[in-house]
């Protein structure tokens, strides 16, 4: 009856191996799914999901503090913080209903709206756009005019920003060589480019560590790219629903308390980031402390000192809309922002809690 080997002992062996693999995986899947179910909303808190824009870093330290210190739950919301990444589009996540609140730049929100989304900015975490141009101290770029005759590394997606800087400062685009890059500073360290588009509070630290001396950073916010960054965007329909609007207001209160805590002393936020939220990210206290300090320049301005963190001012809205126009984004007007929640929360004061 041994017509083919598959009927014999070897088949048994093969089947055993296959079955073994299958059962191990099945058991493991069962285990993970039983332990991985998120806790249902308890004690009358509304569940909300916050989609951050990048992998866990102290960049979101205020939110981590808010969750850990119970600022969210005290305000009636139970927030799940979703990590982001290079391929995450927070605006699409909000528009498609996967998240309730998304973090992004004012221009990404406007861009999404220009393509059919209907999102509203309810608060602005970073008052200054962190997009900066990093250069070496040998060939510094301190003003946009210095970009002429240089090679600039531009990540895909920031080309429009570069075009806007060129236009706003009357530069000759033909004299600037754009080189496509990823999100590491290697091209600048190796000398492949003279300038690099970076995130103000992140890559300059890496560059200093790698090159052994600090680079030169030029904030593009000072040269025409003046948009709010790390804004909190929600769907317009969310704000039209009274219950949901209350929940978002509760979230913002918790968020503001978290960031107030951060601004007072970022130590807790740094420790939470390194030891908890990004504990498998291989970050160091030292490097995240530096980032947290740099980030203060973006969070705290004269306006937030007068009106409170995450504030959106009329003056700010005007500047934002002007920048959006220079970026070539159409259809944005004042309705892109909704300041009613912030006004309601602060009640004319400059801090809460």
């Amino acid at each position: 009856m041994n017509l083919a080997p598959f009927g014999g002992r070897r088949a048994l062996r093969a089947a055993t191996v296959a079955l073994g693999i299958a059962s191990v995986l099945a058991v493991a899947t069962a285990c993970s799914s039983s332990s991985g179910t998120p806790a249902a909303s308890s004690g009358g808190t509304t569940p909300l999901t916050l989609q951050t824009s990048w992998i866990p870093l102290v960049q979101f330290g205020g939110s981590y503090v808010a969750e850990k210190e119970g600022y969210y739950t005290n305000n009636g919301v139970d927030v799940t913080i979703l990590p982001g990444g290079p391929d995450v589009d927070s605006m699409a996540a909000v528009e498609s209903g996967q998240a309730d609140i998304g973090m992004g730049n004012a221009d990404t929100v406007a861009q999404a709206n220009a393509n059919g989304a209907d999102l509203v900015i309810v608060a602005a975490g970073f008052q200054k756009n962190p997009l900066a141009i990093l250069s070496t101290s040998d060939k510094p770029i301190t003003t946009p005019a210095d970009m002429e005759g240089k090679k600039i590394g531009v990540p895909t997606g920031d080309q429009a920003a570069q075009d806007a800087v060129v236009k706003a400062n009357n530069l000759d685009a033909s004299k600037i060589i754009s080189v496509p890059v990823g999100f590491d500073v290697a091209p600048l360290v190796s000398g492949e480019v003279d300038g690099l588009w970076v995130f103000y509070s992140e890559q300059p630290i890496a560059y200093e560590a790698a090159a052994g001396k600090p680079g030169v950073t030029m904030l593009t916010a000072d040269y025409g790219l003046d948009v709010y960054a790390q804004v909190y965007a929600v769907k317009r329909s969310t704000l039209e629903d009274a219950t949901k609007k209350t929940a978002i207001e509760g979230f913002l209160k918790g968020e503001i308390e978290g960031w107030q805590n951060y601004v007072k002393d970022p130590t807790e936020a740094v420790e939470l980031t390194v030891n908890d939220y990004a504990k498998d990210g291989g970050l160091t206290i030292e490097e995240q402390t530096k980032q947290a300090a740099l980030q203060m320049d973006l969070l705290v301005t004269d306006e937030t000192k007068a009106n409170g963190l995450l504030w959106i001012s009329d003056d700010g809205i005007t500047k934002n809309l002007a920048t959006l126009e220079s970026l070539g984004i159409t259809g944005a007007d004042k309705s892109l922002f909704d300041t009613s929640l912030l006004t309601d929360i602060y009640q004319g004061k400059s801090s809460i809690g």
Binding site: L3, A4, P5, F6, G7, R10, R13, A14, V17, I21, A22, A28, T29, S32, G36, I55, P56, L82, P83, G84, G85, P86, D87, V88, D89, A92, A93, E95, S96, G97, Q111, A112, N115, G116, A117, T156, G157, Q159, S178, V179, P180, G182, F183, D184, V185, A186, V189, S190, G191, E192, E202, I205, A206, A209, A278, K279, D280, G281, G282, E287
Partner: protein, 565 residues
């Protein structure tokens, strides 16, 4: 190599002796010759190992020196000692990262392969299913990663999205391999089953599956690397732990020890299952060499040209309808928000009827032209080098032992880590993007060609040996013709892979072509643009694939049957 007896050195110098003495001398001569042969074989083996170790050590030293003197300072490559140091100091971190990524990769690998094997059996048993759905499977394989990743993030919860991406990276290659394996059984055993009154189920169970096992195991082997890469890329859609997270943080903080430790770990995660399933294949299916000998395609039933092209056209139209239906089904079943989920109608409007359609069209066509140049050159280069390397390995087995781990490593290093090195070496122009494409094409070609060369039946090899054929002549007259189906199978799969790789390189290195267009459209929330570019790219990959399989059928029909007798 094989243990052929070398020419006996000191045999019959014994004439004027008695016949008994002559017998004795002959026996002694044979014994000494055997001993010589055995020593010789052992020495060759030993030499092989010594060479392997020497070359590996030399490469490591070279790496260390190049990194210390030059490459680390440029922010490109960490030295072996720096990598070991990082692995040791942060071992806990790496253990967590590997387990997070491995858990996703394993599930993706398992479900992707399971689905592929089930689908392959269905396709082989019911030819109509294959004609209708193979192109859909192919279309899924051709979808550019840069477009798929963000869409998956918006379709599933983060964990499922990662597993789906990992299984998608595995599915098609195993599908094709398994189908080839199951089909390799056509021939006398099948006739026998039929003669004994067996139906298609018994031929599946008794003939097709046993002869398909080596090919299935090869799929599982190669799939490990693909699943690991898929899992790492999956972490780009948001993760707290895993090798991809370490990679992003490492790149951003320019911690080269971290980046290259991740590369080494990813390589091991691909190489260990690769070796394991290779051993398992030898252990489970020692008969494989005998059975898979008859690996030629089943001769196509002869019909008139008109009827053949009529049928082909009907199946093509049917396949396109199936792909479009699947597209709609995806949007409907997953309730995709119209902001991100664009339908074929939206894409058609974007390309042909919308007011901006002429501009959209010319932008996409221009980008497509660039991508075709990149992928075409890289494809041919990868294919040629892959086949050449496999042949080199057969002619000089030492090179196989030294270079196989290197080749496996090269394939498994996350391409995003490799890209900076290639850019530095070859620039951001054509050279860099072609090299990236070629590397991706190279590995499957090498693996398949090697496997094909090994499947040449031993009796045919014995025949060549008995004719005292040289290694060269055996290679060209027997092994290469026998391997043509395997070479073409990998050439077919490599066609869409090459297109995908060049889009990845365009995103990260050159900033032109469709890869750049897709990422740029995504950055501007222009999802219709994303879908349109992805659809065009997929269509082109499908055409590319069909052209290669057309060439395959032509060559095999003309060349292989006469050679295979």
């Amino acid at each position: 190599m094989t243990t052929t007896t070398p020419a006996t050195p000191s045999a019959p110098a014994t004439s004027g002796r008695s016949s008994a003495g002559r017998e004795e001398a002959r026996a002694a001569a044979i014994a000494s010759a055997r001993l010589n042969a055995r020593t010789e074989a052992r020495r060759t083996l030993l030499n092989g190992w010594v060479t392997t170790v020497l070359v590996s050590v030399a490469l490591l030293v070279l790496w260390e020196v190049a990194a210390d003197l030059w490459l680390t300072k440029l922010g490109v490559l960490a030295s072996p000692t720096a990598i070991i140091q990082s692995l040791v100091t942060d071992s806990g971190l790496y253990v967590n990262a590997v387990s997070a990524t491995a858990w996703v990769a394993m599930r993706g690998w398992f479900f992707g392969n399971l689905a592929a094997i089930v689908v392959a059996v269905l396709f082989v048993q019911f030819a109509a299913l294959e004609s209708l759905f193979l192109r859909l499977a192919l279309a899924l394989f051709c979808l550019p990663l840069v477009a798929v990743n963000p869409l998956l993030q918006l379709t599933f919860d983060p964990d499922t999205a990662k597993v789906v991406l990992a299984s998608m990276s595995v599915f098609f290659v195993t599908l094709i391999g398994t189908m080839l394996g199951l089909r390799s059984a056509d021939g006398s055993p099948m006739t026998m089953v039929k003669a004994w009154g067996g139906g298609s189920l018994s031929s599946l169970w008794f003939v097709r599956l046993p002869s398909g096992i080596p090919a299935i195991l090869t799929g599982l082997q190669i799939g490990a690397a693909a699943a690991t890469l898929g899992a790492i890329f999956g972490e780009f859609i948001g993760a707290k732990a895993g090798l991809g997270v370490l990679l992003i943080n490492g790149l951003m903080s320019l911690n080269l020890g971290r980046v290259w430790s991740v590369a080494v770990l990813a390589t091991l995660m691909a190489a260990i299952p690769y070796g394991f399933f290779g051993l398992l294949r030898r252990w489970l299916t020692p008969w494989s060499a005998g059975i898979s000998a008859a690996q030629q395609l089943a001769p196509a039933p002869r019909r008139s040209l008109a009827s053949r092209s009529g049928r082909a056209l009907a199946w093509t139209v049917g396949s396109i309808a199936v792909i479009l239906l699947a597209w709609y089904a995806y949007l409907f079943l997953f309730q995709m928000s119209p902001f991100v989920g664009k339908s074929p109608v939206d894409v058609f409007a974007y390309l042909f009827t919308a007011p901006k359609s002429p501009a959209n069209r010319s932008a996409i066509l221009e980008a497509l032209g660039v991508t075709l140049v990149h992928s075409g050159i890289g494809y041919v280069a990868g294919l040629v080098v892959g086949v050449a390397a496999a042949i080199l390995f057969v002619l000089y087995p030492v090179s196989e032992r030294v270079l196989t781990p290197l080749a496996v490593a090269l394939r498994s290093v996350p391409i995003i880590v490799l890209i900076p090195v290639l850019i530095l070496a070859l620039g951001r122009g054509l050279g860099g993007v072609v090299a990236i494409t070629a590397i991706v094409t190279f590995f499957p070609t090498l693996a398949n060609t090697q496997a094909g060369l090994k499947r040449v039946p031993t009796d045919a090899l014995t025949l060549m040996r008995s004719y005292d054929s040289s290694a060269q002549s055996t290679l060209w007259r027997l092994q290469v013709p026998y391997t043509l189906p395997a070479i073409f199978a990998s050439a077919r799969i490599a066609a869409p892979t090459a297109v995908l790789a060049s889009t990845l390189a365009e995103w990260l290195a050159t900033g032109d072509g469709l890869g750049h267009a897709i990422v740029n459209a995504r950055a501007h929330s222009d999802y219709t643009g994303v879908w349109a570019a992805a659809a065009v790219l997929t269509a082109v990959s499908l055409i590319f694939y069909s052209l290669v399989s057309w060439a395959e059928r032509r060559v095999l029909a003309r060349y292989a049957p006469s050679q295979l007798g």
